[in-house]
Symmetry: C2
């Protein structure tokens, strides 16, 4: 019988228009991998009564309750008190935690304020979870139906404690089961077209659970299967994942959830011992920034030019003035000439170029705002692709850089065959 | 007597590790401007019983309850039913909404599925809020203590409805009061140093409410005052805001919440009829991308070079080989030479350069990973600033681009005096 969880994020700053709770995403990820579904999330301010009420509600609804934030040393930090009240337990001073705190302050050579002692109090029956990155220990409490955990709010304290301390303590509380996941990262297709393509496959299954997520020009399909054995979970993933992989073909740029398109391009360039250079107009440096985002990119990226004006295109890249005059700067011949010029100039294997109308001004009847020509110069010749996006400056620039990376990836795929 | 609000976001995708609720930020912003504080936020999946329970709890805790999402046409969309159940009211078919739906489908020349009729049902006594961007109307219900509102989930449908339909309906429900806000956007100081500087001023006041937010290299101080009259609210803002402005001095780059540092730099360049160009090593195009992010930047940005290798620095920028050999590429003289070379080459008023160790590899004993030299060439000479950041590639690149923009801003401030 699978168990459910509820996550409570505590902190008045999370109730402002500027800040959203993101800790719950990391917690959800780890809980899902344990086969636990999150059924509700709550954000409460630093208010002891409201927090205690929220915890009481969560304990009624879910077997696992995870609370993050509010473990600091000040009066504002009310999570310990609120959780103890909700569980009808006392808070007791832990001499062990007290000496850990004292040692910590001695080590950084700072006096310990009296307030800090608040962090040495544990809920009766709770196990302390050590925090190597801060002064607040976490707490783990076994309950009748499952467990309640307190985690610190700062992500760099929360994440290691979640993975190293909480997950190992939750595993024995949960029914044994195996979870397997499979991920596709996809570009070159819109979200609704993607869903129309693959929903007929995954729609028939509730296990694996399929999630489709989208960012501009970047889609993400995630399958998560659970079963009694690893072999069964993997068989379920194959049953749904293999037909999806076939339908998507080379639109899948990675099956690693953490590998971005620029990482794939950098990896392929390294494998081929190939190099790239860029000549950008409308993307204004975004493409070079992505080509240099990956560590070690100095081995694969030779150089970039941001030639925003016609003068720069002529003087820096040597694009002939009559070509610019005849076709205009935003045109197929100019995109090709830019890519070829920078490839020759940098002496790189490949070169990419962009020229287009990012808006809000500019554009012509035939090439309205949102139109971009993307050039890819290769050892076998130069190809230019014309793309047209929704006329929003941020989207046009972001999507054009993404398309340029993907066109380079596809060129490299071709030449590997 | 100020009123409180609770926001409920409905949608199973908001309980996955990949997606967080952001609608509540826009809703909180508008509620705060009405003088309403948000005391709790809840995320629930597409589950009618759980959602109805959450709404019942919210109606007990808060005078204003705003629910977003779950107004679509499918069986998954349960918000109408759940809200009606929580209020103990019926759902009734609105003939007016039915005819709006029919007209909408006729206009886009598509048959209306039977399911779509679900969107024409209103909670008994509710007022429909028109949705020009989608098929789901919002709903506004006056309750004994205040109001309950249903808004659609997609942000481009939610935001206009929030501002144009919900806010005007909430205003008469709320006690009359005036809200005034003041914002400082700041760079060149860390979050804890900033707080140590200004907390002695704002810490004495609960009205205005002061919020300090931070992104890497970018801080945000927000004051919000409420009073019976506009003059009183503005006086409160002056009482706290003026001493803060004095303490921060020219670290404040804008007092407009929506004006980013690149927008300020572009505005100052335009005002001075000046231009800029860039030569980047470790920032790899990020700086050019920010200099070209603002519409119309083709008037102020003349061109950019991403010279990642020593060869490129020599061949493209003409940095003398012996300068590189003597000082290494990451050095003050090379940063100065890069800025001067690109200024001359592009014929711009100003030029910026970056050269440093973004990591993870590289660095020397004197210039470890995280060290960046930033050059600013101006009509009055060239200045190089050495900065050192936490050795994290993403942070080093982001912070160096931010610092370069800020150094240019400060140069322009100086020459305006």
């Amino acid at each position: 019988m699978p168990k459910n969880a509820e996550i409570i994020a505590c902190g008045s700053e999370l109730l402002t228009p500027q800040r959203t709770d993101t800790n719950s995403l990391a917690i959800t990820d780890q809980l899902n991998l344990l086969g636990v579904e999150v059924i509700q999330k709550v954000v409460v301010g630093d208010d002891r009564e409201r927090l205690a009420d929220a915890i009481r509600g969560a304990l009624k609804r879910a077997e696992i309750v995870v609370i993050c934030g509010g473990l600091g040393p000040t009066e504002d930090d009310v999570t310990r008190e609120a959780a103890a009240a909700a569980l009808n337990r006392r808070l007791v001073l832990s001499l062990e935690q007290e000496s850990i705190l004292i040692a910590r302050f001695r080590q950084i050579n700072r006096p310990m304020a009296k307030n800090n002692l608040r962090q040495a109090y544990l809920i009766e029956g709770a196990e302390a979870m050590p925090n190597p990155h801060g002064s607040a220990p976490g707490q783990f409490v076994s309950t009748e139906r499952g467990a309640l955990a307190l985690l610190p709010g700062p992500p760099r304290e929360l994440k290691p404690m979640l993975e190293n301390e909480l997950v190992p303590r939750l595993r024995p509380v949960l029914p044994p089961q195996e979870i397997c996941v499979r991920t596709f990262r996809i570009t070159g297709i819109g979200e609704s077209d993607l869903d129309a393509l693959i929903a007929p496959v995954y729609g028939k299954y509730t296990n694996p659970v399929t999630t489709v997520l989208s960012a501009p020009g970047d889609l993400f399909v995630h399958l998560r299967a659970r079963a009694d054995t690893r072999a069964q979970a993997e068989a379920l993933l194959r049953e749904v994942g293999n037909p999806i992989a076939e339908l998507l073909g080379d639109r899948v740029y990675s099956t690693d959830a953490n590998e971005s398109l620029e990482m794939v391009v950098a990896r392929m360039l390294r494998q081929k011992r190939a190099t790239v250079a860029s000549a950008e107009s409308c993307t204004g440096g975004l493409l070079a920034a992505r080509l240099t985002e990956t560590p070690g990119s100095s081995h694969t990226f030779l150089g970039g030019f941001v030639t925003y004006s016609e003068v720069q295109k002529r003087e820096v890249l040597g694009i002939p003035g009559d070509l610019l005059a005849k076709h205009s700067a935003v045109s197929e011949p100019v995109a090709a000439a830019m890519a070829e010029a920078v490839r020759k100039r940098a002496g790189s294997t490949y070169a990419l170029s962009t020229t287009g109308y990012a808006g809000p001004d500019g554009g012509t009847h035939f090439d309205p705002v949102g139109t971009v020509y993307i050039g890819v110069a290769t050892p076998d010749g130069t190809r230019v692709t014309r793309v047209r996006y929704t006329p929003d400056r941020w989207r046009v620039r972001t999507l054009a850089a993404q398309s340029a990376l993907d066109l380079l990836r596809r060129e490299m795929l071709k030449s590997s065959r």
